[in-house]
Symmetry: C2
Subunit: 127 residues, 2 copies
């Protein structure tokens, strides 16, 4: 698991131009949206932001300032809990590049990425 302190994230009320800059600077395609930095609300990606500003011909970057992350983010985010099995993480990661891990009280603990799951599987298969 990538611990919360090493996870790039934005807040639901942040403007989209700020979110796109964070995404570009981090180098990631998608990152979690965390309320007050500790409650998972969704995920935001370069794909979702660029989709929202694609005009007829131009990419209208100036539209970004007036819109918020909450309007564009994907709120369908399954949570993983510390006691969940590897099988559950594997199943959920088939259709998502990363999974958000939560504590019992709902606090964000970190991310499990597809690369971490694939690495575990690879190590397991070699035995």
């Amino acid at each position: 698991m990538i611990p919360a302190v090493n996870v790039a994230y934005v807040e639901p009320h942040h403007a989209l131009d700020h979110a796109l800059l964070i995404l570009i600077k981090s180098g990631y395609s998608a990152i979690p949206v965390l309320e007050r930095g500790e409650r998972v609300r969704g995920t935001i990606s370069k794909t979702l932001i660029l989709d929202s500003i694609l005009g007829l011909e131009q990419i209208e970057v100036d539209k970004l300032r007036d819109r918020q992350v909450a309007e564009v983010m994907n709120a369908d985010v399954p949570r993983l809990h510390a006691q969940d099995t590897m099988m559950k993480a594997l199943e959920l990661s088939i259709s998502r590049p990363f999974l958000c891990v939560e504590a019992e009280d709902g606090t964000f603990l970190g991310l499990v990425t597809r690369s971490a799951i694939l690495e575990r599987v690879h190590a397991y298969c070699r035995w």
Copy 2:
């Protein structure tokens, strides 16, 4: 494997504004770069294109028209061949979201995605 006919791609000589539009319209984070639609030359992503136009403060979209895909693409693309094992595909997919499959004569055949590998592993583990 996703057969070549269903794979979104661009050519090395295409302008970056065209490549970004293809990426946005396809909804994918990254797609292969194919010479004449049949030889793998690299991969291009929203991340690589946005990185190349991030000015001091602004995202300078008008710079895209004057640059080509070949200048920005990632040319480090391992190829998979039809006779390669699942283990090899698993190993290569740990650090790449998709793999390009080639025929003996180097012709592009299609893509193997992480979700396809994870799905196979999941089905295998359930037995």
